[in-house]
């Protein structure tokens, strides 16, 4: 059952899953973090309220987020093929994952920034800090713990979505689970992949929680 070939396949599955999850989280943040900061800054109570820009961002965010991931995955196949040259495999899966993650991350970032006490922002303003200085030196520093918690949750969600992409040949552990568990009824292999997913999730969640706790100076 678990011959060398299967073990090799599972190892590759773990590698592909980590690759998809981490790379899409990273790229997702490159897009989602500025997007989220933009939403916060232009919101009604932000540093530079702008209803027009906020509504545009808000609508884009909501549209993408309201499409179920599996549908998004299929809808984006032509785009994915355009970007990476093919529509299957783990690298190709990163494209829809990022597009799905970016607006989600933007919302998570926006809500983290909203938690920062308005008093410290006013204090920074009263010292003559510019909006950029407030964003970089105060907002992001003070929201750090919450941002790390948000990133942990996001990584967990993307781990789940990367597995979901297995149904359309996305690669990784989800792919293995679907192929062996669903099409071939080899429950034991599916079982192993599920255990591995649980373990990976635990590692992500626990390290996120640990880093967040380390960074928190408000109470301890």
């Amino acid at each position: 059952m678990f011959d060398e070939q299967v073990i090799q396949m599972i190892i590759e599955g773990v590698r592909d899953t980590l690759y998809m999850t981490l790379v899409s989280t990273l790229i997702g943040y490159l897009v989602g973090l500025p997007f989220g900061i933009g939403l916060y800054v232009t919101s009604e109570k932000g540093l530079h309220p702008n209803t027009f820009i906020y509504s545009i961002g808000d609508v884009i965010c909501n549209i993408i987020r309201s499409v179920p991931f599996l549908i998004l995955l299929i809808l984006l196949i032509p785009f994915t093929r355009f970007v990476v040259g093919k529509s299957y495999g783990s690298t190709a899966t990163i494209v829809p994952l990022v597009i799905c993650a970016a607006p989600y991350i933007a919302r998570v970032v926006e809500s983290s920034l909203k938690e920062v006490d308005g008093g410290v922002i006013e204090a920074a303003k009263s010292m003559g800090a510019s909006n950029w200085q407030i964003i970089y030196k105060v907002l992001l520093v003070e929201a750090k713990t919450s941002l790390i918690n948000g990133a942990t949750i996001t990584t967990g969600v993307l781990l789940g979505y990367s597995a979901m992409s297995g149904t359309v040949g996305g690669g990784g552990l989800g792919d293995i689970a679907v192929r062996y568990g669903y099409y071939r009824w080899q429950t034991d292999i599916m079982f192993v992949t599920v255990i591995l997913l649980i373990l990976i999730f635990q590692v992500i969640q626990n390290s996120g929680t640990w880093i967040a706790a380390k960074s928190d100076h408000r109470k301890r």
Binding site: D117, E122, A123, S126, M127, G128, A129, E142, H217, R218
Partner: protein, 247 residues
Amino acid sequence: MSDVLRIENLEKRYEDSIVLDDINITVKKGEVVVIVGPSGCGKSTLLRCLNGLEKIQEGSVVLEDQIVNPVSKNQEKVREKIGMVFQTYDLFPHMTILQNVMLAPLKVKKRNKQDVQTEALELLDRVGLLSKKDKYPRQLSGGQKQRVAIVRALIMHPEVLLLDEITAALDPEMVREVLDVVLSLAKEGRTMVIVTHEMQFAKAVADRVIFLDGGKIIEEGSSKEIFEHPKTDRLKTFLKSFTYDEQ
């Protein structure tokens, strides 16, 4: 003495309600102006208008020759010169005491780090908190936090210091340590505009007292004139609310 801060015909409205109505105040260099009045009279709002945290609808606030309010772009340059200390301290919770104090001079004024650090340590020493420099705000008492907040404002070398009910959130036994710092600043000739509920303190520190009620200046004068010889009934009633003599 030269005028530092000029407030002319200031009017502040929220939609239909007038919060501040035709306020005229001139603060001279080295002067300590204390604003008193019942809660909701607009005194904190007035203070916030003085550094542009609140927009105004009419009139102007001018610091030396720079317009503070109506708020313009590049507001930051003027704000550097107006220090403010808040009721709720508003220290940055994720930064140590020293980082809290050094942030603005380093990042906003782009001063040399060594100089800033030397000055920060001197100022912390002056308010008796040198030993707390590496602590985080949560490890300090309210009174200690407020003294740090004062230092954080002072290190920017402000032309004017605005103090917004800085003892209102403190336990009574901590009020003194904060007010002592403010008194020593007054003695060395700092220009300050103070909003407070501590009448004894107002009496001790003020060169001039302004009584604000319903968004208008009702009376203005030396602390002796205001506290010992109030002219208007409203001020008399207000002052009476602080005494506990039998009727």
